[in-house]
Symmetry: none
Subunit: 227 residues, 4 copies
């Protein structure tokens, strides 16, 4: 059993570096954490925070309930860790999509798609975000909203640039950002809870159509301008 031998020898190396006893495998720990968070996300999303017995998470992992408490000090912290990871992943997904896109309008297009795609792919996270608000009412802000502020500045820059270049109407960048993010947020929730199943590409197009061009006809638009 060569593999075993290798493990053994690497272990005896450890014995020199570390104290004695079982080596503290940082890797192993992290993997476990991730496994637990994966299952926790799933189960919390399925049953809701309050209706989830930590046992429900332990059982399908084939581990003891107490083991989970070795990694997360309370059920609450476990839950919040799952939410946090979700928010981080959302950020990453959008960051990744937006990536090197420089054109501000293309950037928005891509971000909208990425946002909707993310939640279509991770419906559990929608549930988790709801649960967070429902249970942790004392926290000043939902984790989701805390994070959403992070990239505000770069978006503002991008929008202002587009206005200067005459590609967007002149208006407060804040207004665009607020309306857009509210629209996306509402869409994500409604998709999930009203059971809509329009493919995200189509939905993104609809949103862009309205958001970019508005719903007024040209004539109505002209009339408004005059008044």
């Amino acid at each position: 059993m060569p593999q075993l031998k290798m493990v053994k020898s690497s272990r005896s190396n450890h014995k020199v570096d570390c104290r004695r006893g079982r080596p503290c495998d940082e890797h192993r720990r992290e993997r476990r954490c991730e496994e637990i968070l994966d299952k926790a996300t799933e189960v919390f999303a399925e049953h809701g925070y309050r209706n989830t017995d930590v046992q429900y998470i332990a059982d399908p992992l084939g581990i003891g309930k107490a083991t989970i408490y070795r990694y997360f000090p309370t059920k609450e912290r476990l839950f919040l860790a799952a939410v946090e990871r979700g928010v981080r992943r959302l950020d990453e997904a959008i960051e990744l999509a937006v990536g090197r896109v420089d054109d501000p309008i293309a950037k928005m297009t891509v971000a909208i798609r990425a946002y909707l795609e993310f939640f279509e792919t991770h419906p559990d996270l929608v549930e988790l975000f709801i649960q967070e608000r429902a249970e942790f009412r004392d926290r000043p802000k939902a984790i989701y909203f805390e994070h959403s502020c992070d990239n505000k500045d770069q978006w503002r820059q991008s929008l202002l640039a587009a206005m200067t270049k005459g590609r967007l109407r002149k208006m407060p960048a804040e207004r665009i950002m607020a309306v857009t993010s509210d629209l996306l947020y509402g869409t994500m929730f409604t998709n999930h809870f009203a059971g809509r199943d329009k493919p995200f590409e189509e939905q993104a197009r609809d949103i862009q159509d309205v958001l970019f061009r508005g719903i007024f006809s040209d004539s109505e638009r002209r009339r408004i301008k005059q008044s």
Copy 2:
């Protein structure tokens, strides 16, 4: 105890009067129901569904916990009744505002304002809607979404008419309705949970500006058309 006696005698009098039409006990019952729902809405919104002990509702009303169970068979039904009443009130508020407004665009304007105003006035209901989703995951659709369908038809009619008259761009009415309602929904939630406090009139104006006219500049809009 004269008061008690009066109540008793007045009740028996009523019983005579009310033989025809709705009996007075029914009235009394309904008033109680409303009182309970008022307090329930408040307390559920404050503590969340799961963290609300039915006792917390009974105490400030000065009644016994068991009394509540005489009016609502379970805690769940009590909660759902509160949500239902909230949704009904939202409908009524919008109905009332839209009222005799015939012009389709004015109608939308008024509805958007009314929607935002309603939730600014009734922040408890935002919480209740969240709670409903968080707890009653098995129900096919949230009560909130069930109701929002009711008036879809009339809105569709109104929008199509506006397109025919050339006031709105030609596009599927569904698209406008979906985007608008998602946007409003998202705005309401974000207002509440991100702690925004912009006055609803301003917010309504921002939304209308973007929704009606879009964010593109005229040149960008032209460019898109050509492609």
Copy 3:
């Protein structure tokens, strides 16, 4: 069953005085409290505080565990209430015995007997006092010691009077009180934990003999005086 009838009629009187609903029978409540404390004293003494599941108290009473929590908010408070009641009873027992005894020496004699008799009759309380110290290490002073201070003043008076009258040697009253109470305390504990079973009357006599007359012989006593 006349008693029952009386209760009933008094209850219907209550209905007039109180609100509606089940009358709040203060008596009943107190009786329940006492029953629970009785059983709690017994069970805590038998198993120790930590090894006592509140269920163990509820079961033999034929009531639900939760019922106990209606009367005492936590296991800790239940336990401390039992201890407190024990201390109060000790005080009362000694008070009762000392009663109208005026002669200071007779008073001590009686108190010593009463003390030992009390703990022979209530061995559970010895256990309870131990348990209190063992578990509630952060409390500044054991309940037992808190109370023992109450009557210190009257004892001091009594002892000083006896010295003035030439019946006791001149020495600080504190010294007598400290030595006596330590001796009794130690005797009670040792009786219980070392499993001694000397009848309390004999033990009291032994204690008095030593405490009053000392162990020195007359000659030794004289020799000491000279030096």
Copy 4:
């Protein structure tokens, strides 16, 4: 890592040296045991038996929890070992003090002082003795009391001799022994738990004064004799 290597080599050296006589591993083991018992005494005294997680003992020693289980099979045995060692040390302290003192009265004087001094120096042990009684209610006798019997015989001899020599009143030696040990026991506990802080020398003098000479005045003493 030179240090680690040194340890290793020094150990193998030992192994060579120790072939004859008690093997060095035995030494090592014993040293470890003592270290553990030291810390255990401290921690058990601080938190109480039940509230002490074995981890709390391992951590400050910088060893693993499981290591402790290599030296003591259960938490209970670890605790009892600590108690036992404490009792043994008490015995030794008194033995050492009494030492070559032959005069029976001087012997008592010295023993009383030594007893009080011991517990002033080792307050942890008072806690441990309490804990033992609180937790191990099924054991027939507390370890403390088991041991206290050991030297009974020599004390009895000493007291009887003193009576014969006319230095102590004639009375059952048992009575003196019981009263004295109860008094000391009670004093030790009360000191600790009532938070008294009189220096032990003074306290010893107080005790001797009462124990030896009694509290009666000469006249009272005479009156008693006549009756």
